[in-house]
Amino acid sequence: MEHSNVTVASSRLMAAGAAILGTSVFADSGLEHYRGSFRNPGMVLPIATSAIAVPLNMRRSMGSAARPGLGRAVDLVASIVGMAGFGFHLRNIGREPGGFRLINLFYKAPLGAPGAMVLTGLLGRASRRLQLGRPSPFTAKAFGAITVAGLVGTVAEAGLLHFRGAFHNPAMWLPLAVPPLASLSFARDLALGQPTGATRMLLGATAGLGLVGSAFHAYGIARNMGGWRNWRQNILAGPPLPAPPSFTGLAIAALGVMLLLPKRRRHD
């Protein structure tokens, strides 16, 4: 019984992570693609997909296992839209004068962002898999690897864009400090097959940092001409308000995977 409770809890945390990540994708791609005037009709896809994936994963996080067929389709579509988005963003940068020079990686379509859509689909799928029963240790580790990869990608994205902002606020170093430590610690736990308190603490800090990050970005928006009074312009020009909670979603999903790792030290 205990095992299945743990598996259920893990499933719900994974779904919660997917829901938060999906919400971040919904708001971020909504704002950024609006800023890009939906020049390509495909730019509505991540908004539409996440609009369905978020409530689905919210229901999963509350324990619902209804309509698995629809769930599978949504997870699949989210991953495909994410991968297609990566392709579109790659093309957007590549055909810009200067190609893959840093200036275009800074300012053209962000390469890492569509990855969050892929991860939303994968985490949703993992949550669904856990609804069906305890996975093998290998599968658990694979789920862990997905969240680590997600964290690494998000760190890279924050690193690139904070470098673009010349780390003008020392707090901009935080996403390059806390989540990498959490990822390393978590990866070690996965490799050794046993959870540690340090990892749990670091993942908790990463989850919190995602929310703190949005608060910092709100402050960053205020530092643009006209501040929040000129919100319609500055929400688009300033740091992306919905981006940092990606860390929260991924850290919560990782905490879910942690539950699947055996608690007792093995003496063999």
Binding site: P97, G165, A166, H168, M225, Q233
Partner: protein
Amino acid sequence: MAEASDSVRCAGGRAPDVFSTEGWVPMNEYGEDEVDFVIVGTGAGGAPLAAKLAEAGFSVIAMDAGPFWRPLSDFASDEMHQSKLYWTDERIVDGENPIHMGANNSGRSVGGSTVHFAMVSLRFRPEHFKTRTKLGYGVDWPIDWQEMWDYYREVEQELHISGPVRYPWGPKRPRYPLRPHPLNAAAHHLVRGAEGLGIDWTETPLATLSAPVGKAHPCVYRGFCVTGCSTNAKQSALVTWIPRALKAGAEIRDLAMVGKIECNARGRASGVHYHRNGEWHFQKARNVVVAGYAVETPRLLLNSANGDHPEGLANSSGLLGKNLMVQLNQAAWGQAEEEIRSYKAPPSLAITEHWNYCDEGKDYFGGWTYMSQGPLPTKWATSLAGGRKLWGRPLLEEMERANHSVGLKMVGEVLPHEDNRVTLSDETDQHGLRIPRITFSLRDNEKAMIRHALDFMQSSLEASGARDIWKETDDTCHLGGTARMGDDPATSVVNADCRSWDIPNLWVCDGSVFPTVGGVNPSLTIQAIACRTADRIVEMGRKGEL
């Protein structure tokens, strides 16, 4: 609220707070007491000097003939209105190529012409400090490039220059404090052209913020940079060095036109006569620094002639006012299929310094660079009417497709020549001061450079797909050279420390000390020289050599 141009704002122990719409900051006032330094001019030369000397503990008064603006409330999105930033007093221009004075070569504001400069912040090519020795033309600077490299760094830090992560030309330089701005469509044409012609390009190092700094907002790409930035993203002297100077205890006197430097019986400068609030005053000073740029600086020194110095102060070499240099500012323009709207964002986002660093394939001396362009509508109409001689219906039709116009403009080196000079006319201005006569002619070397540059820029535009290309052959920008620095009192006006050879407590600190102007915009170099001069003065003060 009174317009700054009408009434003195620096008074009553306070000066305008440039980061507010109507606020104030406290300001020291020295009254008529003798101060350590009076600095005439508060632009790229005077402002850094005022800040650094005040921070070193000297008593400093910096005077400017122009008003003290608050950009947030005083600057309009209107080219004609903003011409209030230019120095448009009466001057006589002659020679074969009379210089058009005003917009891109002089300013009348606290902060000087940095209030309306294009923010392009480039370092000289190292060899351009020793052109005579290394490249066989012009004259050598008395300062080494490696020393300048450190001062460039200091200014780049102070102005939070946003620039490329790696600069393609010259010796390694430290990373710019801020990252480059995104490129606009006009810059993309430079990029595609350069790649088509197989030369390097990069994002232009610019003195406008790409991230918030203190109370200054990042650039909003409004595009009115050269008519005055109303958001304070532009790092003019007005919003950088001047607040620093005020904080350190310097006094700024706005709307104070200095007419004459007084000398005492011992042959030393004793202070300045200046016109403010409708009357003449005298300010005593232990040192006088002239920082009025390459026309007003020699004008003031010539106007200050006295019995001991009948040809003007600091003019024993006879070179004061001579070797006036501008920079070549010719352009090639074309039409693009797609919409360009080149006036959006800072005007010169992309640059190539290829022809500053490449000496092969030239039938002339000197270097030049070219940048993408973003003229505002009135300026564009003026170029079409004046440079292309369009009028009436053709002008209207061309203006209708202004959003598709795209162009490249050079900044090219002019060689020093003694016949290009500033002298005094017999006519006088509203203060009764003799007005300058500015004589300038292009020589064969410049004409050869213009030919090469225009052809090359045309090739670049063709390579980037522009059509209907035409050449704007007659424009100049920037000034330099009328009080050159050097190692020899016989061939220069000031020494490497900007100290005049003739009068030890008289200094010149602005673009007029340039022996050669190089192929880059001068503002960063002027500020670097000012920082160096301040350090040298502090050092000399410590040793009792002032």
